[in-house]
Amino acid sequence: MVPEFLTLAEAGALISKRELSPVELVESRLARIERIDGNLNSFIRVLGDQALAAARSAEAEIMAGHYRGPMHGIPIGLKDIYETKRVPTTAHSKVLIRHVPQQDASSVRRLTEAGAIVLGKLATHEFAFGGPSFDLPWPPARNPWDTSRFTGGSSSGTGAAVAAGLVLGGTGSDTGGSIRGPAAFCGLAGLKPSYGRISRAGILPLAFSLDHAGPMTWTAEDCAIMLQAMAGYDAADPASANRPVPDYRAALSGDVGGLKIGVVRHFYETDNPANEATRQGIARTTKVFEDLGCLVRELRLPPLADWAACGIIIMLSEAYAIHEATLRERFADYGEAFRDRMALAPLITGGDYVQALRRRRELAGELAAAMADLDLVLTAAAASEAPPIDAVGKFAIFERPLLTMPFNVSGTPAMSVCCGYTEAGLPLAFQLAGKPFDEVTVLKAAHAYEKATPWRSIRPRLL
């Protein structure tokens, strides 16, 4: 009997010792999807036959002594903006409902070469921007902790599927917080790595200068394992960084004592005031890091609204350039949330866009200067627990500045980490951000925090 919940690391260890069959593991997840996902809508396409064939192949390889590593035989899901060979990739949109790519995205190819088994394509907000939407070809994903609640977005299906144990890891994309938001609301570890760390080749874009691909898993260790498989230079992505890829998992061990952490309180106390449960969760979190020997001090950065304005002006401008012609021809084929948000883009001038790029340079410089004597920045990942799904307004991302946007603007690594639960049992989260290409320190601190707290032992109660 395969356990209801397994971390990626746990499953990998069992598979490597031949104590768990990839076929049994995949069969158990497919049965779970069949049983549970009708309430969650996390998958928009399940690839059962393909996954079982891949699992049998993985099992034969492993039994023959060809174990590839910790992703071998691990069932994952892909946000449906990651292109997959001969499998529709729709961006959850009527506009691309017949789009069948002829090759895998580079990161998908890396994951399958590492032995991962793709169980299917996961729900997203339309083109990673609209949503939650009720007028698309598929319904929006729902939060496994309470199905009346929002998953966060745009990597909504990945958040739901990983939290529900339907897959052991999944891919997300993050242009303003689309990995860290759903990770926060669904109680996961979600890593937006440095800009350029993971190739975006073959991933449907939202805004090229802000888009990041990354892993969403139950633990920081699992994020490290997935990142290892996904990271690395790819000439097919013009922004891909040709830098060495460290051994992320090996770097998790060891002491975090002495790490210097700057807490940006004004982001969640005044700029986008978080609710009491979130503030208390973060206060407890800073105490945990102090107890682990970290040196914690307050840090002030430019107002959150500056980062959000900069990011949204850039995001809307770049996204509009992609969709402009299709919006003219097929406006009504997009969902209302996406098209009405995009309809604001023609109000932005070329001058506005360039001023935002100039402001970006200034903001990134200010963050770099502020972090000169720090290892990490800590702040909130979201201002509250997941709200009711029907209470999320069409223009919500414009109404209050996103707590996640600063690290898209800066291109630096940032991660959402669960820091407890509300009285109603909904996850709370904080955000850790590091220096450019220093995912190691982010992951190491998150891993130490998870080991020091009980939150990873609590899973959603599902039917």
Binding site: A308, L316, R328, L344, R359, F398
Partner: protein, 58 residues
């Protein structure tokens, strides 16, 4: 930005926006105005960080 100005911008962009959505979009236009104002700081000509041939201090 007035509703007329927003509708003119949508028409110039060639977007076939349903009538019922136009006032909703117009009501959200202030977000863009506020954000566009926020990214404009007091920069001189020489502040262009991407210039290969830096302009003189103005």
């Amino acid at each position: 930005m007035s509703r007329e100005q927003v509708e003119a911008a949508l028409a110039r962009a060639g977007l076939d926006v349903p009538e019922r959505e136009k006032p909703v979009i117009a009501a959200a236009a202030h977000f863009i105005e506020e954000m566009a104002a926020r990214v404009r700081t007091d920069r001189k000509m020489s502040a262009e960080s991407a210039h290969i041939f830096p302009p003189p201090e103005a």
